[in-house]
């Protein structure tokens, strides 16, 4: 197949302006990889992957539409690109086709701010932290705070139905979305309309939320906000095991408490950096201890009552109050953890990633134990955190890492680790891919029900994108 590339270049330049188009290696290399650990691992021994043929930076939906019409005409594959922080290869080209990457970051303006309804209309290329800061300056907050806040964009969040560290209170990003604008593969710009709630058919924004760029490019959204809180409180409880910690959290949520943060992790006092010089090595009992970290916000009297309720429930289940300090400390370092893993991947024989799965409360503690055991048995290290807790369940975020004898062996071990995680997850009734989406990676690992849902996506995609230009290969699409 011969693609008249110069002709395409000319047309793209016309669409976005020559200054917003690049085929220079500086740009194509930069857009060759996202944060998918497997691809990062591969690149450290093999050649740097081929980047896209073109990177464009459209400034408005109409320009995106123009680009998509060109892509349709020549059947060129397109990747909508936000911050490139995808953990699953969703934003990086694959195979050796001539890809167009649509970098959305020029579309980063707040279009309207309705302070009465507390709704913001904002373009999708805005980086998370910038949006939050601009909202904070006016006394508002979005309440969506993923660890990748400094890198990821609104469009990336919506496309992956991202869950942030405040999700117990504010939900996933899709729960904050009241309407959006998207460009469909044939260049039509559609707006889903804003209402607090409606009963006029399915909520159509949900076709694009979570679709990971396979159906169109999201260019703007209306989001509900809340006021910056006047009060924030922290609390922490220590439990001998993970199960009672989960029990306390579950009961608190059922009672109607809405914590800002609720996570269960290892006892942070065991962290090497936090231990006294001459402290004894941790015992097995130390290691099985788990700490429930909590934060609350809202009117102070309400926060006090919420805190009281959780304290009563935690104490009844054997939780020992540790006061504000551990949770406050975690809060202070809440962004530090995120990119800690990345340097690992530069070292040749290491492998690492983060398994995230969702499960109902009853399935959760079994999954927790089985996952930990399965990984430790292979000599791989894990750190499991319970996060994104809600009424009916929570996510397990399982960071794992290990060392192999060679770069190839590391890749093999990585794949094996994921197969193992998928087996444990399916056997225990969990749902894989609960936070980061599917990208190039997770589709094959999913259970049959989830695969069937992706097959449906493929059906829809055939209708909206007959030429198959939108992020083909993602979420099991062709």
């Amino acid at each position: 197949m011969s693609v008249p590339q110069s002709e395409i270049t000319g047309q793209l330049a016309e669409a976005v302006g020559p200054e917003n188009l690049s085929s220079s290696p500086v740009d194509t290399i930069a857009h060759a990889l996202d944060f998918w650990p497997r691809a990062l691992m591969k690149s450290r021994s093999g050649p740097w992957p081929r980047g896209p043929k073109w990177v464009v930076w459209p400034g408005a939906a109409a320009e995106v539409a123009h680009v998509l019409r060109i892509a349709s005409a020549y059947a060129l594959p397109v990747i909508p690109y936000g911050g490139g922080s995808s953990m699953v290869g969703g934003a990086s080209p694959r195979g050796d086709r001539p890809w167009i990457v649509i970098n959305c970051k020029r579309m980063c303006n707040i279009l309207d701010m309705d302070e009465v309804s507390m709704v913001v209309h904002v373009q999708a290329g805005i980086v998370g932290v910038e949006l939050e800061e601009r909202l904070n300056a006016r006394g508002f907050s979005l309440g969506h705070v993923p660890t990748s806040m400094t890198t990821a964009t609104l469009g990336g969040w919506l496309s992956t139905q991202s869950a942030g560290m405040l999700s117990s209170r504010y939900g996933r990003v899709g729960d904050l979305c009241l309407g959006l604008t998207a460009v469909l593969p044939d260049g039509q710009v559609v707006h889903t309309r804003v209402a607090p709630r409606r009963a006029t058919g399915p909520e159509l924004a949900h076709l694009l939320i979570g679709a990971e760029g396979t159906l169109g490019v999201i260019t703007a959204a209306h989001l509900r906000l809340h006021r910056l809180p006047l009060h924030r409180r922290f609390d922490s409880f220590c439990f001998e095991q993970v199960a009672p910690a989960m029990g306390a959290l579950r009961q608190s949520l059922a009672a109607g408490v809405r914590p800002l943060v609720a996570r269960i992790q290892r006892d942070p006092r065991l962290r090497r950096s936090d231990r006294e010089q001459d402290a004894p090595e941790p015992t097995p009992a130390d290691l099985s201890r788990r700490v429930l970290l909590l934060a609350y916000e809202g009117p102070v009297e309400l926060v006090e009552v919420e805190q009281e309720i959780v304290r009563d429930l935690a104490t009844a289940l054997g939780g020992e109050g540790l006061g504000q300090a551990p949770a406050r400390r975690w809060w202070g370092q809440r962004f530090a953890a995120g990119f800690r893993m990345t340097p690992l991947l530069v070292q040749d024989h290491l492998f690492a990633d983060y398994v995230e799965l969702g499960a109902t409360w009853q399935a959760l503690s079994g999954l927790y134990d089985n996952l930990e055991e399965a990984f430790e048995k292979r000599g791989w290290r894990t750190r499991i955190t319970v996060e994104h807790a809600r009424l009916e369940g929570a996510s397990l975020g399982c960071a794992f890492w290990g060392e192999a004898d060679s770069a190839e062996a590391a890749l093999e071990a990585y794949d094996e680790a994921w197969r193992l995680a998928a087996r444990v997850c399916h056997a225990g009734g969990g749902g894989l891919g609960h936070v980061y989406g599917g990208g190039q990676h997770r589709a094959a690992l999913l259970d049959d029900n989830a695969k069937q849902r992706l097959a449906v996506l493929t059906e829809v995609k055939r209708k909206l994108d007959p030429a198959g230009i939108m992020n083909p290969g993602i979420l099991g699409t062709e």
């Binding site: 559609v190 209402a195 009963a199 006029t200 058919g201 076709l207 609960h434 599917g438």
Partner: protein, 537 residues
């Protein structure tokens, strides 16, 4: 007896209906099916008031379904779909399947026209399992809301979904229409409750739309099937979040001089991070309705008491009632204006705001206290607990038995719209003005959210001349919904679109309607599922 003879005459047996039945019996011998005339008439309409007006004109079932079927399980639903699909393939008279819950819908959602096959799901009504530790329940979709709530209550749980039609509507109906209950501010609408559903699509595929614990990879098919009004598939079962039954409940009434002041107070309440279970603000006239005793008589009586009470203080005399009715019915425009003029003078409390709190005792008490302070700061007048409990006691008084007003020569209906706060007053004024020439109109604001609120208009218009009434009625709706979209509101907050609002789907969704059409083409390519609803063919 005379009545039934008349009915029989009006719906002479259709031969096409009979042949359809024979085919169906052949293809699915185990399926319970009826083409008895009583069934066909009973299922010919839902509770769309436009249909009630037609009934007044003597048209009981001009386009009756061919038959009614009662599948026992989703496997039979699949067989039905396969059969209909096969029929569609060979041409001829297309088969239309209509998912049917309890027929309490108010927009003609199940009225698919002559020859359709009504698929009543009420035999699929079991609670599959209750998982108290996961705060989840799995139930089949044909279960009546009241029965589901009852089962949960026995386990010390609640779904928190309380539409006024709780006793005469099904779980599947709620999901299919994005229904809202009276405690939506705390528990959410039905779309906030469902985590996953089993659906049988128009291709005959059985799809589990999500997971017990939300999330997952790819778009949320759960959110895309909720609200699909039977046009994309049969919802056959669903998993929903449940809560501990409330240990404590507090109710209170507040007075606000004007509707706009009351709205502003609700906005501040919702934006303060509080979560009341019930928030209902009645406009001047609806306040009188809300405070008068619905127990003692019919809706019509209450209405007439209220109107005549307006005119003469309290205690309406019969002649005044008749006069009042006459006035409402002959000159709704004048009545509306009169009420507007009188409103400020009539009730010292102005508009009534009912606020309720429930849940854990400590959380309820602290929120009620904070909410009270917030409402007082907003200029509310504390009316004590009585108006709150009064509402609570009468919360199901809106009856599924059709309003007696219909037989008093009037029609009644409701229009439930919503908008973000910045547009809410425009929406209120706009729709009110648009409807006022045709019917006597009142409104309350319920279902409040931090970003906006819904408005529930009730209206009564004259139905003396059957032919003209339908015209007036249609004009009223057209004007009302046009005003709603012009003001930037949605045309429905929780009743759905059905057929009666179908021609407003473009105004409502603009070009994003294409996404809905794509879903239709994907899930029901043969167009066998409830064509006509949501403006889909």
């Amino acid at each position: 007896m005379a009545g039934s003879v008349r009915i029989l005459q009006m719906t002479a047996p259709l031969t096409s209906a009979d042949s359809r039945l024979a085919e169906l019996r052949d293809a699915l011998p185990d399926l319970r099916v009826s083409n008895h005339v009583t069934d066909r008439i009973a299922y010919a309409r839902d509770l769309w008031p436009g249909g009630q007006i037609e009934k007044l004109a003597g048209k009981h079932a001009p386009e009756p379904p061919a038959c009614v079927v009662w599948p026992k399980d989703s496997a039979q639903v699949v067989e039905l779909v396969q059969w209909a699909k096969a029929k569609a393939g060979v041409g001829g008279d297309p088969v239309v399947l209509v998912p049917f819950g309890a027929g309490s819908g108010v927009c003609g959602g199940t009225m698919a026209g002559a020859g359709s096959v009504i698929v009543d799901l009420k035999e699929m009504d079991s609670v599959v399992r209750i998982e108290p530790h996961n705060n989840l329940v799995r139930a089949q979709s044909g279960i009546i809301g009241w029965h589901l709530e009852d089962r949960l209550n026995m386990e010390g749980l609640t779904l928190g979904h309380f539409p006024s039609s709780l006793m005469c509507s099904t779980l599947g109906g709620y999901l299919a229409t994005r229904s809202a209950g009276q405690c939506s501010s705390l528990y959410g609408k039905i779309e906030d409750m469902a985590t996953t559903m089993e659906v049988v699509t128009g291709t005959g595929e059985v799809l589990e739309t999500g997971r017990d614990m939300g999330g997952g990879v790819g778009p949320s098919w759960t959110q895309l099937f909720i609200g699909s009004e039977g046009a994309l598939g049969f919802i056959t079962a669903a998993t929903l979040k449940v809560h501990p039954a409330p240990a404590h409940r507090m109710m209170r009434g507040y007075g606000f001089g004007r509707v706009s002041a009351g709205c502003e107070a609700i906005r501040r309440l919702m934006q303060a991070g509080l979560r009341p279970a019930v928030v209902r603000l009645y406009d001047e006239f609806d306040t009188v309705m809300a405070r008068s005793s619905a127990e003692k008589g019919s809706e019509a009586d209450t209405l007439l008491d209220a109107i005549s009470g307006r005119v003469k203080g309290s205690g309406a005399m019969p002649w005044l009632k008749r006069k009042a009715l006459q006035m409402v019915l002959t000159r709704p425009d004048v009545t509306n204006r009169l009420i507007e003029e009188l409103a400020p003078r009539i009730s010292a409390d102005g508009c009534l705001l009912v606020v309720g709190w429930e849940g854990d005792k400590r959380l309820t008490e602290v929120q009620a206290r904070l909410g009270h302070d917030e409402l007082m700061r907003s200029g509310g007048k504390d009316l004590g607990e009585e108006p709150g409990w009064h509402w609570f006691k009468n919360r199901y008084a809106v009856s599924y038995k059709q309003s007696k007003l219909f037989t008093s020569g009037a029609f009644v209906d409701t229009m439930e719209v919503a908008a973000t706060w910045d547009r809410l007053m425009d929406l209120y004024e706009g729709v009110r003005k648009a409807i006022a020439p045709f019917a006597f109109v009142m409104a309350h604001f319920s279902h409040a959210y931090p970003e906006g609120c819904s408005i529930y208009f009730s209206f009564v218009g004259p139905a003396t001349d059957p032919g003209q009434t339908r015209q007036q009625y249609d004009r009223l709706w057209r004007r009302g919904l046009t005003a709603a979209t012009r003001a930037g509101g949605t045309i429905s907050h929780h009743h759905g679109v059905g057929r009666s609002k179908a021609h407003f789907m473009t105004e409502e969704h603009g070009n994003s309607l294409r996404l809905l059409q794509t879903l239709k083409a994907t899930f029901d390519p043969a167009s066998i599922l409830n064509p006509g609803v949501l403006g889909l063919s």
